[in-house]
């Protein structure tokens, strides 16, 4: 398939088919990313032509489900964002945890990495009054997300990074286990809530103190980014904090957010 020439409509045709099957609208996702995912998936599953791709999507629920999951990118690379770690540990969390109860949201979550990275730092403060909502866009993700959130499967590989960059030596504050199998401490487990939702269709209320939204919007086009940001903004309380990826920019034309740290993408909601 790599040797063929494609047009924009060829690629959009596949996503239109997938939208019909899944109910998820991909029309405002970044085009080149969508094209790459199609070609990579076709290569992985030996699908020779785009016509075959469309046929298989409609013919096989399993393949359609696999492709749907394949489109969403779980890697967030939080473990390499040392600047943000330091900020989270030294400034953001100490201030947030002065509140009686702290509500944190991970929207459009498709992997556990950001969540359990965050919990490391939350655990440092031995705080049990953090309530976390993890939202994911496709119901097929539910078991995967829960497993990654609770079991923190990649932690072993990240321990050296954690220790080198933050000085944290005791993951047992948050997780228990041995060797490669870690599980989140029961102290935190009861305060984690999961929901499958379409971020654009859901009715948001202003209840979150912190929204962790790193490197999720990069897969949308500009128009969709603006629409999603409006929703996320509504979900934050006044003075709530929004964290996005280091190379993402906030459309702040209405002045709704205050940039808190020049070298980091951390913003405070100023007003409703």
């Amino acid at each position: 398939m790599q040797d063929k020439k494609f047009s924009v409509s060829d690629i959009n045709h596949i996503y239109n088919e997938l939208s019909d099957i899944s109910g998820i609208d991909f029309s405002e996702y970044a085009f080149s990313f969508k094209m790459h995912r199609v070609l990579l998936f076709a290569e992985n599953f030996n699908i020779p032509t785009l016509d075959d791709f469309v046929y298989k999507l409609n013919d096989s629920e399993v393949l359609a489900s696999e492709f749907l999951k394949f489109i969403f990118v779980p890697q967030s690379e939080f473990f390499r964002d040392a600047d943000f770690w330091n900020y989270l540990q030294s400034k953001l969390l100490p201030k947030l945890l002065l509140k009686k109860e702290v509500f944190v949201h991970f929207p459009e979550c498709v992997g556990g990495e950001d969540f359990y990275s965050f919990m490391f730092f939350a655990g440092l403060f031995r705080s049990s009054h953090i309530s976390v909502t993890v939202s994911f866009p496709v119901s097929d993700f539910e078991n995967k997300i829960k497993s990654e959130v609770f079991e923190a499967k990649k932690i072993k590989a990240c321990l050296k990074n954690i220790e080198a960059l933050s000085g944290i030596r005791n993951p047992e504050d948050v997780f228990f286990g041995k060797e490669n199998m870690f599980k989140i401490n029961h102290l935190f487990r009861g305060n984690i809530f999961f929901e499958c939702c379409d971020i654009l269709k859901q009715q948001h209320i202003s209840k979150f103190d912190l929204v962790m939204f790193r490197n999720r919007m990069i897969y949308y086009d500009k128009n969709m980014q603006d629409k999603v940001l409006k929703k996320v903004s509504v979900s934050l309380k006044k003075n709530g904090i929004l964290v996005i990826g280091e190379k993402e920019k906030l459309n702040n034309s209405a002045g709704k957010f205050k940039h808190l740290q020049s070298n980091l993408s951390v913003y405070k909601k100023r007003f409703f």
Binding site: F6, S32, F33, H36, S76, Q225, G245, K247
Partner: protein, 189 residues
């Protein structure tokens, strides 16, 4: 020769010196947008772009997601991100899985640029120790762009240009000195 507006340069091990020489050769009024896809350490953010900035009369920056590509600018792909070129001539970033053990992947940027920019792009593969960029350069040829590879005999590490030449079939195989001249005279031929 088509009216090229965008120059892509992909490099890995052994390419940094020639990249700085190429940037050093570009005049202040160089009319192209230059996009550098260089393999770099994932967790080191500081220093790399500054080092390139010293050698360039053109502004050098790491683009933000959805930033518009402007002529007369040098863009370097940020550490630990892939970079796509969108059909509307903006950048789009991604944290997808590594490709050829690399993020940024030269293949991803080159292939998306081939599709989005067609014959308006000239792409160069320099020294490197893996096959990244070979498929991307092939796409550059496929969609009508101009493909160049550093002469493997001139490269510090020959693997990457060798793979690019073999996969893309490009006949523009040039020494580092000739690459500079080629890029400076792109639309004059």
């Amino acid at each position: 020769m088509p009216n090229v507006k965008y120059i892509l340069i992909g490099g890995s091990a052994g390419s940094f010196k020639i990249v700085t020489e190429i940037l050093d050769s570009f005049p202040k009024d160089f009319p192209f947008a230059v996009i550098l896809v260089l393999h770099r350490l994932k967790h080191i953010k500081e220093g790399f772009t500054d080092a390139l900035r010293i050698k360039s009369l053109l502004p050098v920056s790491e683009p933000f997601d959805k930033e518009k590509i402007l002529p007369g600018n040098v863009y370097i792909v940020p550490a630990n991100y892939h970079l796509y070129i969108e059909p509307d001539k903006t950048f789009a970033l991604s944290t997808e899985e590594v490709v050829n053990h690399s993020r940024p992947s030269i293949d991803i940027t080159f292939s998306s640029a081939a599709f989005s920019l067609r014959n308006k792009v000239a792409a160069v593969i320099l020294s490197g120790a893996n096959n990244d960029g070979a498929r991307g350069l092939k796409d550059i040829v496929k969609y009508g762009g101009t493909a160049v590879a550093q002469d493997p005999q001139d490269a510090v590490v020959a693997t990457m240009p060798e793979a690019a030449i073999k996969t893309s079939g490009t006949e523009n195989v040039l020494s580092s000195q000739k690459i500079k001249e080629f890029l400076l005279n792109l639309n004059l031929k």
